[in-house]
Subunit: 681 residues, 2 copies
């Protein structure tokens, strides 16, 4: 290209260059590195390379676009427009030839690296740069005088079209077996699902179709928790979530929490393999379920990205987790893993499907924590950010752009509504919000599946469909916090008697008291109350969480954080105010406490849609300082100290600004505090 050739400017990138007349716009875009998509390699089939040529004067670029600056609308464009429609003013970049100076706009949907904005609160955009793409290519026919194999000619065609870089091309026997009939059926046109996890690593053909094929091409982002497994089916072409689903982790029958599962593996020869088979089967079923929901065959799933804690990680891989049950908590492997999905028995997926597991951070801090980091990016934060992902185990990350620390803390299942007298998982009928009137001590509540509060007119009718069945994780947090606010609970966690609280809702429960929220027994429904045992369970869970955060703060040498991100399915529903009243998280201005939704799941989606995010998180994880709570004496100390609920004299200045905590003490009453609890107050 010389300066006497037409000048072409692409917007919005501003990239510009001179090109000889007759150059297709797509070719010019490629030479300039303009982000213009093309699947079919410029043969007017895929229509991905749509552009909008400008008209008239562009003083900013010093260009006046003439009437003949592009070649006329041609037959290929006409056929495409008639068949599928082209927006007014659009041309196909592979068909329109440069004839004069041009300003050409690349619409968002024609960009390879278009962004998908996440719906959740923190609007982290996902850059689309998937490892697996559809690539259509023309393969020269065989020639007896130059007898290369069909595969070698395909490789040469892909390389010439820039799809391989310098890296070799690989294919399984399964693919080689299909290649010859496929090429001949498609008249030497072929579309490949080409997997290229890194520019500098070999590419691999996962599947192939005769002629031009335009999908579906999906990936599955899986958040494999101890209790639940969630999956998002994403379109690998544009990042859209096509369907989401979740199932209970079937390993629950081998043990509710991680350590019981490790014990099961230790006590039962082959137990690890039983649990491995169970979770793999559940993943297969889940893949089928979400694919069906999206109206697709699971065969259209070419990648799975899996995030999970270390024990789930090892059990999924078929590695005995015994070493994770004892110091020094050695992982068999901590690095990111790329596997064939069928090595994980994910046979529902496409036979060529690949699985990627994010790296683990430490023996107790897993790939799920890495996914939270990828999603919430504490390592890029300018202010000190605490990220907690609360599940049966809490993953806790603290840091900013200068350093990042991570640990995990065994909160137990109380926050998920388990081990709570009226607890249940978050499902229709579960009480999820509670308010207690500080004067009357009467509660009002909302249940999942009904938009009305319990004292709204028409609530009885509106909630009839779901009933009122129990109390879920976020409900129990609010209930305990509201009880504290209403003076029904003292800072040590003791529930007061009717005499002490002045409320007839306090029910005798052995030697302790409980607080009645709802009595449905007249209509064969449950009696829902918060017992002293429930409060103790929440206290244990919240002190574990708080102690983990404090341990990281000690390491950094700070006693306050600037920002708190509550992540996880639970974090999405929790009320930050109530969490602060319970002392679950360090003191922080309320408007600096945000919910990030299922950050681990989002991290999985990011790694699924953006292959560069994979190397990014692999590098980032290597720079994280890992803190082992299980053997840190200070963790125990913080844990014991955090057992009490905050009270007015506690160092919670932000909380004090927010609410007035009643100064009550029920210590002399029905429940005799243990020596330990007394010391801890």
């Amino acid at each position: 290209m010389t300066s006497s050739d037409p000048l072409v400017v692409f917007t919005p990138s501003g990239k510009r260059g001179h090109f000889p007349p007759g150059t297709p716009v797509l070719t010019a875009a490629r030479q300039l590195g303009v982000d213009l998509e093309s699947v079919c390699g410029g043969r007017g089939i895929c229509s991905k390379c749509q552009i909008t040529p400008g008209e008239g004067d562009f003083p900013k670029h010093g260009i006046t676009v003439g009437a003949q600056a592009l070649s006329p609308w041609n037959a290929v464009e006409e056929r495409y427009a008639q068949k599928r429609g082209l927006k007014p003013g659009r041309r196909l970049g592979c068909q329109a030839l440069i004839q004069g100076d041009l300003v050409i706009d690349v619409p968002a949907e024609s960009q390879v690296h278009r962004q998908v904005v996440r719906k959740a609160a923190s609007a982290r955009a996902i850059q689309m740069d998937p490892a697996t793409r559809l690539v259509a290519v023309h393969v020269p026919e065989p020639d007896m005088d130059e007898p290369s194999g069909d595969f070698e000619r395909l490789e040469a065609a892909l390389r010439a079209a820039g799809h391989l870089g310098d890296a070799p091309l690989g294919a399984e026997l399964r693919v080689l077996q299909k290649l010859q009939p496929c090429l001949r059926k498609g008249g030497w046109e072929i579309t490949l699902a080409l997997y290229r996890p890194r520019e500098d690593r070999p590419a691999q053909i996962l599947d192939l179709w005769p002629g031009f094929y335009d999908g579906p091409l999906c990936g599955l982002a899986i958040d494999l928790g101890s209790t639940t497994i969630a999956a998002h089916l994403c379109d690998l072409r544009d990042g859209q979530v096509l369907a989401s689903g979740g199932v209970m982790n079937p390993q629950i029958r081998f043990g509710e929490d991680l350590m019981s599962r490790v014990s099961y593996a230790m006590m039962n020869p082959g137990g690890d393999q039983e649990m491995c088979a169970a979770v793999r089967a559940a993943l297969n079923d889940l893949a089928e379920t979400v694919a069906t929901e999206a109206g697709l065959s699971p065969d259209a799933i070419f990648e799975a990205v899996i995030v999970c804690n270390p024990v789930m990680h090892h059990l999924l891989l078929g590695i005995d987790p015994v070493e994770l049950g004892q110091a020094p908590f050695a992982l068999a492997t901590s690095g990111a893993l790329t596997l064939c999905a069928r090595d994980l028995n994910l046979s529902a997926l496409n036979p060529g499907a690949q699985a990627y597991l994010l790296p683990c951070i430490a023996g107790h801090v897993g790939a799920d924590a890495a996914a939270v980091v990828l999603s919430e990016e504490p390592h890029k934060a300018e202010t000190l950010t605490l990220v907690v992902d609360v599940g049966t185990n809490a993953e806790i990350v603290l840091g900013d752009q200068t350093q990042v620390l991570a640990c995990s803390s065994p909160t137990g299942p109380a926050f998920e509504g388990a081990q709570i007298s009226s607890g249940q998982r978050a499902a229709p009928g579960a009480i999820e919000r509670i308010e207690i009137d500080p004067i009357s001590k009467e509660p009002r509540f909302r249940v999942i599946g009904c938009d009305l509060w319990s004292d709204d007119p028409g609530f009885a009718a509106a909630s009839a469909a779901t009933g009122i069945t129990g109390i879920c994780g976020s409900g129990i947090i609010e209930a305990v916090a509201e009880m504290r606010l209403a003076g029904l609970l003292d800072p040590s966690g003791l529930i007061g008697s009717p005499a002490q609280t002045g409320s007839e809702r306090m029910l005798q429960d052995g030697r302790t008291w409980s607080y009645l929220i709802y009595d449905g027994r007249a209509a064969d429904g449950p009696l829902i109350s918060v017992t002293q045992g429930d409060v103790r369970a929440i206290q244990l869970a919240k002190s574990a969480l708080y102690a983990g955060a404090r341990l990281l703060m000690d390491e950094i040498g700070t006693d306050r954080v600037d920002r708190v991100v509550l992540a996880g399915a639970f974090g999405a529903h929790i009320s930050p105010k109530h969490a602060m009243i319970l002392g679950m998280i360090p003191d922080c201005p309320l408007d600096h406490v945000i919910s990030a939704g299922n950050a681990a799941g989002t991290g999985a989606r990011i790694a699924l849609c953006d292959r560069k995010a994979r190397s990014e998180i692999e590098t980032t994880v290597g720079n994280i300082t890992k803190i082992e709570t299980a053997v840190a004496p200070r963790f125990q100390e913080h844990f014991v100290n955090a057992n009490a609920l905050p009270h007015a004299t506690d160092p919670f200045p932000e909380l004090s600004k927010l609410v007035a905590l009643p100064e009550v003490s029920f210590n002399t009453n029905s429940e005799r505090p243990s020596r330990r609890r007394r010391r801890s107050n």
Copy 2:
């Protein structure tokens, strides 16, 4: 290292350098790139790094070795010497520390790249540089403060010991699942079967053992022919052949020759998969057989190198060979292939075993021809060399260091004793050598399994064990050639009558004559004769072979070759003189016709033992000019012209010097030559 440090010179390499006192000799050798083996990484376990320190003056090197130049004999060396013995004067390179100027000899058996000299005629040495090696390494124990995975610490240890270069390390789940118990059982010492096919590609752990493990570590070199499958079990540590074996290719029941098998696949849906399963099962059985013969489990086989023609290649891979049955004879893939052996269902081998298939040259010129090139190296020859590997199909390569051409020719199974009236494969009892007295026309012969000629005293007793059962490939060649020499056959291939030949051994056989070699009918044995049909079958086979060679000679523009290499199992047994009498090969001085034994099998062994040979043959094959005989009009012409046997007026000057060919013609007699044959003479 500075020049004031002791100077160390290694012989025979001559590599030299200065090293600080206290440096182990092994460390110095590694830093200089001296070829000194070590499996255990310098811990005095493997004893591979034995060296012989010099004593006294070495004027050539400008060194006088003092008495204290090496550290004293230590306890590790003493223990090893007592347990397994050390030759006098030897030290362990990892134990002996440099204290002064030294001259150190590395004995041949301590070299990594020691050579194994092939037993066959052309003494091509195999350089030992196997892709799979045993590597013992110490892995640091896990540390809670630096919580990397066991695998990551193993990788770091391997990298520090120089076993990985810059490439990443891979391991299948199977290996990861075994890693933690293995490391703990071995007290953090571990031995790996490390597969590293190329320095610049990722390495892979194929298997692992706790502590220090010294084998067995084997590979299988497989020559997969249309009719027979041969395998050599090689020790990957020193290249020795531990056992060899062969079986018939079970695909024979689907078709004797390649094209019948292609037809079977075309006519029978799933027929390609039937043949695929049959040959894979046979390879598994063969692997078990040779391993058992060597007293090993087939689990000790970590690599298989397979050479075969294109149809066998595709059928083994499960690729429908239909395209190989019709022009343009397109291969699905022509490049070399590296696969997991279990992808070929070679389940008898170690679960981690890798399979390597040499590249195919063209649609009719396979990986077996590539192996012949690797073994016989025509591309390095200074004189024009013709290599023919004769089987059911003949692979023909012609060239020198300036250019190499290749083709294949469908000789059919006659040279293997098939489609011959008294034919049989080469087995005890088969006539393999024949002489016919030119005066008496009486034959004498030898059978496989008996060292005596049939007219030697005691032959009857000596051959009683095997009997006299038929005539094998090399026998039928000698028989027909001897008949020609004795004047029983004219140049057109006609057998004469008793009247024309003066021999009562000529038997009436319909309208033609046959020659009686042995009549065992009195003792319920066979009547073994050479019929007119046998002669015609040999004529067809030899003209196909000759025509292929001529076609390549035409391409180069020559009418003579300097050297002929007869390769293949058949080539090993054939008598060059008799081959020339039949006109199988172009005229050439007899002492320039050599037998290379099973060159394809040798090529497979070379690729098995020397990973660099793999990239070498991949490059070489890319530079070979491929000639397709099936569509070359000149091939048909040469084929027709070559039907006759050489006679005195033919342009076979070297043959004329060797033997006097009787001028006979039986044309007017019993058999009426066809028009075509008349034209061809």
